[in-house]
Each structure stands twice: as structure tokens, then as C-alpha cells.
Symmetry: C2
Subunit: 420 residues, 2 copies
């Protein structure tokens, strides 16, 4: 029997460790080259597959593939592109199968969040229907940590560590200067719908008086009065107040705070980030001098301060995806299963894509304190192991991380063009 090739694609926002998953997948496939063909990767994700732009990863050296483990970003490119239902997007699904056929693809690995799990699930169904069965495996990834069933999503732990380390450090800075200068510091973190990353900021608070003193979650409508009184109390008690705010915080009117009214000189609405809005609110009401930071993509790409647990799990997901394929599985996703909290123990499990697809795992209310401004012991128990351990990238002699840039050589096209 002719060996079938593998096709891997990255989907949606990238993470500090999505390439570690690619590394695990490619290395495991190479180790099994008696049964498996080449690993191709979609250039810029599924758009590349539709365009028949397939990267031949067999052209990359062993060392470069190994370096993916410590390189942030998406090495093959990614995209935000969601295939709709079968009826609406039938031509696209059929095109995928056509590309699979043309390039002898037997296994499709889609590395993303809930949308990608849904797409992978549908592709496995349409393949059957069209008489070209492809084993479709979802591979979990998202810094938002919003996939169900899996203990956590690779990518989340490293960004969580970045947030916890950053608010620890910035708070030491603010505290130093607070007697005569800045009294309030606001750090904005990602998470438009779920407060997992904002909650991670709470890990910095090891003792009762430690910062951050206030966390604003997207799950909790902002009670401005309660918030301001909490800030005032922190300043009176500690001399300063350190705040972590999720980009998704909403006001009483249900609007994102970040959209709530900044205008440029011409009166155009300006999406200004939520941190400056919150900081301005504090200064207007209480008069404290503030500073704020919006870490944006810095948090999502901060491989230099990745969590070892996260890197290991990301790699393990790539490896397990190939192992599932070798077992003849389709329509499944490898997941992280937590078998113990203390000590933290985990193993690789599997979930059906049908169950993972299009489900958002919200943060349980029991993870947020009663007053809505802090995390609970349960949240801490869940989150803490995920930021554990350090896994530094190698640095070059100029003081910069040695991140790899692949050659990304495309396979020769065999099909006519396709209008996406």
C-alpha cells in the first residue's frame, strides 16, 4: 500500500507554543516514515490548502524542525477563516477533498480552537461522503483556554505565565515609587469573552497583601462604585493599587469598556484599549496618578517566558495526533487529562471532535470571588500547575532568542486555481 501523506494546518490566533505542537507532530511522523508519507503544511492555514499552497516540511532540516519547539508565532502561517455549514460552503469542502486527492493526503490535522475542531469534523464527514475518506484529527490550541473537555488548551499556560510574571514585576515597580508618584497601575490582558487570562494575573498574589489588588473579568459587569472603593482601599492599605483588566470587561449598559467613547481630534471613535479607560476612570474619580500597559501581541508571542508544562503539553498534543492517526482514528482530538492536582499529573486522552466543536468553555463562577474582583482557591488550584516550570529558548551571541525561520518550500501545484 502506498504511504499516505499528512497535511497539517494552523488556524486562528497563534500562540507561543503552537509551533511546539507542529514540532511534535512532524518529528513523530518522521519517526514513523515506514508507515507515513511526507508532512505537508497549509501555507497560512486552510486558505493555503484551498489555494493548493502546500508547504513541504520534508525539505526542512532536522535541526530546524527541532527549533520549532522554542519558536513563537505560526511557522507556516495561520488565518482566521471559518468554513460554514456544508450547504453554504459545499464548494470549499469539495475543493479540500480535491486537493487531498491530488496530493495523496490520508491524514488531515487541524491545529486550532473550537471553530477548527468543527471544520475538521465536517471535513471527515464530507470525505466519507465523497468516497475519499481522510482521517481528520483536531489538535487543540488557544490562548483563550476556551475548549471543552481538555484540561486546558496548549498556549494558555504560557500566556498565563507571562501575565502573572508581568504583573508581579510591574507591581514591584509601582510600589517603589508610590509614596510620591504613580499609585495605580493597570495591565490589560486578552480574553474578550472568558476571563482565564485575567484570572492568571491572580496567581501573582501569593500572600494576602500581594498585588494584583483588583481583577476585572469579562464575566462580571463592572460596578464602577464598588471598583473605585476597592481601589481606594488598596491605596490606603498598601500605598498603591495594581489592577489586571480583561479586554472584554463591559459596563452596566453591556458595552465593551474599550469602546466606550474615545474620540480622536476629528471626533472619530477610537478603539483605545480598556486599560486607559479604566486608568482614566480611577484618576477622574480619585485623583491618583496612574500608569497603564496593553501587552496585546506581546503576551501571545512571549516564548521567552513560556511555561514548561505548556510547552510539554503542546508538544505532546502534536505527537499524540500522529499516534491517533496511526491507530486509524478519525474525528478525534488529543486532549490533556488532569489526573491529579497536587502533585499535578496529566496524561494524554482523546475526545470526539463532535463534542469539542463550537463549544466555548467559560470560566466557572466558582473561580471568581464573591465580590467579583479576585480569584478563588479553586481557580488557583486549577491554574497554578499550568504556569509551572521554565523552558527558555536558546539565545544567540547577540543576546536575542534563536528563533527559526523555515524555508517553507511549496509543493508543485497539480490543480487549476480556485476562487475562495
Amino acid at each position: 500500500m502506498q504511504k499516505k501523506n499528512l497535511l497539517y494546518a494552523q488556524s486562528g490566533g497563534v500562540t507561543p507554543v503552537i509551533n511546539a505542537t507542529a514540532c511534535g507532530l512532524i518529528e513523530t511522523a518522521r519517526q514513523n516514515n515506514d508507515k507515513l508519507g511526507k508532512v505537508y503544511a497549509g501555507k497560512d492555514g486552510i486558505i493555503g490548502i484551498l489555494n493548493e499552497e502546500l508547504i513541504d516540511t520534508s525539505k526542512e532540516s532536522k535541526a530546524d524542525i527541532a527549533a520549532l519547539r522554542h519558536t513563537p508565532g505560526g511557522a507556516f502561517g495561520s488565518c482566521r477563516f471559518k468554513l460554514k455549514g456544508m450547504d453554504e460552503s459545499r464548494a470549499q469542502y469539495e475543493r479540500l477533498i480535491e486537493v487531498f486527492k491530488a496530493h495523496n493526503i490520508g491524514y488531515f490535522f487541524y491545529n486550532g480552537g473550537g471553530d477548527s475542531a468543527d471544520t475538521a469534523h465536517k471535513v471527515s464527514q464530507i470525505g466519507q461522503k465523497l468516497g475519499f475518506p481522510v482521517q481528520c484529527i483536531g489538535v487543540p490550541k488557544t490562548i483563550d483556554n476556551d475548549l471543552p473537555i481538555t484540561d486546558n488548551c496548549p498556549g494558555f499556560g504560557s500566556v498565563a505565565k507571562y501575565v502573572a510574571v508581568s504583573i508581579t514585576e510591574a507591581s514591584l515597580d509601582v510600589e517603589s515609587m508610590s509614596s510620591s508618584s504613580t499609585k495605580v497601575f493597570v495591565l490589560e490582558v486578552m480574553g474578550r469573552h472568558a476571563g482565564w487570562l485575567a484570572a492568571a494575573g491572580g496567581l501573582a498574589r501569593r500572600e494576602k497583601d500581594d498585588p494584583p489588588h483588583v481583577i476585572l473579568f469579562p464575566e462580571i459587569i463592572l460596578d464602577e462604585e464598588a471598583f473605585l472603593s476597592k481601589v481606594e482601599r488598596a491605596v490606603n492599605t498598601h500605598g498603591y493599587c495594581s489592577i489586571v483588566v480583561s479586554e472584554g470587561v463591559k459596563n452596566q449598559q453591556g458595552q465593551f469598556l474599550a469602546d466606550s467613547g474615545l474620540r480622536d481630534a476629528f471626533g472619530h471613535a477610537q478603539l483605545g484599549g480598556v486599560a486607559p479607560v479604566v486608568a482614566g476612570m480611577v484618576t477622574n474619580a480619585l485623583g491618583y496618578k496612574h500608569h497603564w500597559a496593553v501587552s496585546d501581541y506581546l503576551q501571545r508571542s512571549a516564548r521567552h517566558v513560556a511555561s514548561k508544562t505548556d510547552v510539554e503539553q503542546a508538544y505532546a498534543m502534536g505527537k499524540a495526533a500522529v499516534q491517533l492517526a496511526l491507530q486509524g482514528k478519525s474525528g478525534v482530538m488529543p486532549i490533556v487529562v488532569r489526573t491529579s492536582d497536587q502533585p499535578y499529573r496529566w496524561e494524554v486522552g482523546e475526545a470526539s471532535l463532535a463534542k469539542v466543536a463550537n463549544q466555548e468553555k467559560m470560566m466557572p463562577r466558582s473561580f471568581i470571588s464573591k465580590d467579583g474582583f479576585d480569584i478563588t482557591a479553586a481557580a488557583r488550584r486549577y491554574l497554578e500547575p499550568l504556569i509551572r516550570g521554565e523552558d527558555y529558548p536558546p539565545y544567540d551571541r547577540h543576546g536575542l532568542p534563536k528563533y527559526v525561520r523555515l524555508q517553507n518550500i511549496l509543493v508543485k501545484k497539480k490543480l487549476p486555481g480556485f476562487e475562495i
Copy 2:
């Protein structure tokens, strides 16, 4: 002869390594306790000295003092408070001498920038005049890198490394997604008057096509048209554009871009950071989707990604300050002297406070490319060694850096209060 005590104070904005300087100073003083008394530290800087709030560092354990080497922030507190000229601030200078007398202070170490060097210089003069000679030693520190004579300022190298690493990582992220999503990323860095930190972003660009593609310096009035055409060219060539902007960039009218017109819902001017202004400018003119980050205090406290060169120099400055004191010197500051670029070699030198005081070292025009949007080879030669090497803090088993919090026990007051 009775041993004299040492008094150390941190001044102005803190850095990731100002405590490494404190560590070098205290450890060296302890090694010389046959000649030197205790090391006191001003609580919250010179304000604490005026208030007779002196921290007795001899109460801290050897391990805790050693941990200062890897702890960001200012361990004894700092402040922004500038003593004016002798006539205007005579009462304050006299108060300092009074406090020195009361606590048997023979050596005053002021760890800061140009203002602090000026103050230390004046204190040494007034001590002589009032018949209580104190050896006054300036100790260099500033992330802005704006002190003259010294090769660089401890603190700068680590923040420079943070900037170069961060723009490297975020650019990989943007590049991954650029075919279908964000095309322009803007990172705002500190440096209101001098573009040293913005220039450090240029170190990320090792090959011609590497990011960042545009750097905006405070030294160069923004030519909006040239800027936009540079951004457009980068997007056309690379698919995306990565930008580092100094907070101090000004428009043709000489205003800070950060002040140029954001208003909140009530029409109040809102200091929004320069990154969102620049990003908005790009999107309005060229339609590209953007993301932006303002790292603010994160950059200034990022000990987790400190430069080894910087940590070593910061420690060496503290050590050298005590050695200068032991040599009977006053009115001087230890400095870093560069003896070779390649390989980078440096040694400790000394400068007269009179020459350092109140001088700002601007970035030479020869460090900025002719078009005003890049650094030159000369800048690279100067900057590169300063971010070299890694010096990680230890981490605890929960995945967070083990930063020390000192006890900061105050010495018993001996004087009546003083109205600052």
C-alpha cells in the same frame, strides 16, 4: 577612629537592575566591615532621608541581600524629588547634614540619573561648608541611557533587551496572520526625549528584511507622508509592517503625538499613549488592520529577561562606589568605560559629579539612518553588546520568579520632625 555608616538612596524611576547595584554596594560594604559601619538606605529615596526614615540594611540576611541582584523595582523605595539650588533649598540641604550627623553617616551614595548626580555634588559641597564633610558618591542608573561620560547607564541594557526580544516575538506573530488579518503592529517604548530604547528595537533586525520595518524616534519630527509610504512599502514587500515608536515622538507642530487629541466621552483630553495614535493614523490612511501594545512599566521591570551585561555592570557600579569611598574619594561617580567594541570589553572608571550633573546625553544623529526611520551600523555596534547574555532570576515551584521583599526595618529617629 569610629567607623562611619553608609547611606544609600535610590532616585527617580526604578529599573530592572537598580537593586543589583544596591546588592553590589551592600555586599562590598559588608566585606569591608573592618573599615565601614552599617549601610542605611533612605526609605523612598531622599524623601526618607529628609524625614529621617532610614532603613537598617544590616537587619537583612545575607541571602536576602544576595537576592537583590535578581529583583526588579526599588527595594527601599524611590521618589521623584529634586533638590533645587543651594539658596532655594538651603533648609533641605542643612537637614540632610543634620540627619547625617545624627546617624554618623560618613558616606552618601545617590543612585540615579543626572539630577541625582547634581544633588550628590551639592551635598558634598554643603557638607564641607557646614563643617561636616561627607563623602558623596553618585551611582549611575537610568533606563533612558542619558548620562554623559559613562559608556551606558545600568538599567538601559535590560530594557533594551526587553524591547528587542518583544518586537522580535510580536513580529513573528503578526507575520503569521498577515495574509488575512492584522498587517501592522505598533510597539510603544519609553524615552520621552532620547530615542535610545526605540533604537534598541532595531537590534531585532538582523537581516535586511527583518522587522521592525519602521522606527519612530523622538529626535525626528514625524513626517506623516514619508512614514505612511514606508509602511505601505513594507506591507507590499513583506506582507506586514512592524513598528517601534518612542513615546516622545512629536508632530510637525511640535506636540507630542500622544497628546494630540484623544477625548473621552465627556470631551476631556485623554493621554492615550502614542501607539494607538500611530496605529490609527495607519488604518485611517491605508486601511490596514492594526494591533498595538504599550509596554510601559512592564519594560522597566522586566527582570525576567534582563541582559547579563547590564546586571554585571549594575552590580559593578555598586561595588565600585564603595571602593571609591574606601579610597577617600568624594564628588565622583563610578562609570562604565568601553575599551573595545569587538569583542566588547569594559572596565570601571570614574567621573567627576560636576561633569555628569544635569547633562543629558542625546542619541547622536549618526545613530539614525538618513531617512529617519532606522538605526545605523554605528548604533548597532554601540547597542548590541549591552543586551548580550541572559541572567534569569530563580523561579519558585509555582512558576513565578523568586523576588525578594526586604524587611526594611527603620532606624530609631533621633531628631525632631521636618517639614519638606
